[in-house]
C-alpha cells in the first residue's frame, strides 16, 4: 500500500558536487520518508547542490512541501542549494498558496536552474 514515487539521479558534467534529481509520481505523506533518506544520503556523500526536475511530478501535498523546504534548508547549511524546475501549474499553485515560493528556488526549466549553479 502507499503511493509509489520514483526518484532518479543524473550527473551534471563538470560539477562533482551536484546532481539532477528527477521525481516521478506523487510526493505525499506515504513516501516522504524514503525520499528524505535518499536525498540526505546523497548530501552526506558531498552532493550538496541539487536540481529537482519536477516535470513528471504530478502532485505534492503539505507533507511533501515540508520535505522540500527541509532539503532547501539543509542544503544551504552544507553550503549547497536545492533548486526546483519544471513545476506543473497545479503543483506550483499549491506551493504558491501556502506561501513557499519565497522560500524555494523555482525555475521554469532545468537548464535555467543549472545556469545558476
Amino acid at each position: 500500500m502507499g503511493n509509489q514515487l520514483a526518484i532518479t539521479f543524473k550527473d551534471i558534467p563538470g560539477k562533482a558536487d551536484a546532481k539532477i534529481v528527477e521525481f516521478l509520481g506523487d510526493l505525499d505523506a506515504t513516501n516522504v520518508e524514503s525520499v528524505l533518506e535518499k536525498i540526505v544520503a546523497l548530501m552526506n556523500e558531498g552532493i550538496v547542490k541539487l536540481v529537482a526536475d519536477f516535470e513528471k511530478l504530478r502532485y505534492v501535498n503539505s507533507t511533501g512541501l515540508g520535505i522540500l523546504l527541509h532539503f532547501s534548508k539543509i542544503a544551504k547549511e552544507k553550503g549547497g542549494c536545492f533548486k526546483i524546475a519544471n513545476v506543473n501549474e497545479h503543483v506550483y499553485e499549491i506551493i504558491e498558496i501556502i506561501g513557499a515560493t519565497t522560500l524555494l528556488e523555482i525555475f521554469d526549466n532545468v537548464d535555467e536552474a543549472l545556469s545558476t549553479l
Binding site: 500500500m1 502507499g2 503511493n3 506523487d26 505525499d28 505523506a29 506515504t30 502532485y59 501535498n61 503539505s62 507533507t63 512541501l65 515540508g66 523546504l69 501549474e89 497545479h90 499553485e93 499549491i94 498558496i97 501556502i98 506561501g99 513557499a100 522560500l103
Partner: protein, 264 residues
C-alpha cells in the same frame, strides 16, 4: 424492421420528464413526426423530454437535424432533450458526426433522470466512504474523489484542489484520530460547489472542553500560521483552498467541514 411509431408518455421515474419512445427507422420522411411530437409536448408545457431510442434502427441526417432543432427549441424554453438507449452503431455514428458535443447520450431512463436532477434540482450527488486509519489508502482515495469531481464537470484545477483537500483532511484525521478508528468522508457534489466532511472518531467518551478548545485552536488557526513549523501546514492549506471551513464536535467525533465553490 419494425414500423415507425412514436409513443409519448410521462416518465415513470420522475414527473418532471416526458418520454418520447421512438420505434423503427428515423428516415427523412419522419422529420415532421419528430417535430410534431416535440411541439405537442411544448404546447403542454413539457420542456424536459427524453428521446428513448433503444428500438430505433436507423437515424437519418435530416432526422438528426430535426432532433437538434427540437433541442434548441426546448432549451429556449429552459428545457432540454436527452437521448437515451442509442444502439452502439447509432451512438458511434452520431459521435462521428460531432453530435456528442450537443447531446448527452445516456444509457437508460434512470441515467436521464439523474442527469435531469443534477442539472435542475441542485440536490447534489453524494459520495461517501469509510477508510481505515492508514495513510497508505489515502492516495487512491483522494484520486478517486478527484476523478468523480472531474466527471461532474469541474475543471482540472478544481479537481486538483479537491484532491489536495481530501488528502490533507484524511491525513489530519488519521494523524489526530484515535489509532485504528476509521475515518468517514462524505462529499456532496453540486453543480456549483462541493460540500466535504471528514470525520474521525475517537473511541470512548466525548471530548473534554479543554480538548475541544485545543483542537479548535489548532484547526481553526487561532494562533498565527508559520510555514516553517512542521505542523499545521495541511490544515492551513485546506483553509486556503476552501471557501468555507469549520470544525464541529459530536460526542467523540471531530468533523471538519469544507465548502469549495466551482471555479468559473
Amino acid at each position: 424492421m419494425r414500423p415507425f411509431k412514436v409513443i409519448r408518455e410521462k416518465c415513470p421515474l420522475h414527473e418532471g420528464l416526458t418520454v418520447l419512445k421512438f420505434i423503427g427507422s428515423l428516415d427523412a420522411e419522419r422529420v415532421s413526426d419528430i417535430g410534431d411530437q416535440v411541439n405537442a409536448a411544448i404546447e403542454l408545457g413539457r420542456y424536459f423530454l427524453v428521446a428513448e431510442m433503444s428500438e430505433v434502427s436507423f437515424i437519418s441526417s435530416p432526422a438528426l437535424g430535426e432532433l437538434m432543432g427540437c433541442k434548441k427549441r426546448l432549451i429556449e424554453n429552459n428545457g432540454n432533450l436527452y437521448l437515451v438507449g442509442l444502439s452502439t452503431e447509432n451512438r458511434n455514428k452520431l459521435r462521428l458526426m460531432g453530435v456528442g458535443r450537443i447531446f448527452d447520450f445516456l444509457p437508460t431512463l434512470g441515467a436521464a433522470v439523474r442527469k435531469f436532477t443534477w442539472d435542475n434540482e441542485n440536490k447534489g450527488d453524494l459520495v461517501r466512504t469509510v477508510l481505515p486509519a492508514a495513510l497508505g489508502v489515502v492516495p487512491d482515495l483522494r484520486y478517486f474523489f478527484s476523478q468523480i469531481v472531474g466527471l461532474k464537470g469541474y475543471s482540472k484545477r478544481d479537481t486538483f484542489r479537491i484532491e489536495a483537500i481530501i488528502d490533507e483532511l484524511c491525513n489530519n484525521g488519521i494523524e489526530h484520530g484515535d489509532g485504528g478508528q476509521p475515518i468517514e468522508i462524505s462529499c456532496r457534489i453540486y453543480q456549483y460547489h462541493i460540500d466535504i466532511s471528514v470525520m474521525n472518531t475517537r473511541s470512548g467518551v466525548s471530548l473534554s472542553p479543554e480538548a475541544i478548545e485545543e483542537i479548535r485552536t489548532r484547526i481553526e488557526g487561532k494562533n498565527s500560521f508559520n510555514l516553517n513549523e512542521k505542523r499545521g501546514r495541511g490544515i492551513e492549506l485546506v483553509r486556503m483552498l476552501s471557501h468555507e471551513f469549520s470544525v464541529d464536535f459530536v460526542g467523540a467525533k471531530t468533523i471538519i467541514r469544507v465548502i469549495k465553490k466551482k471555479e468559473v
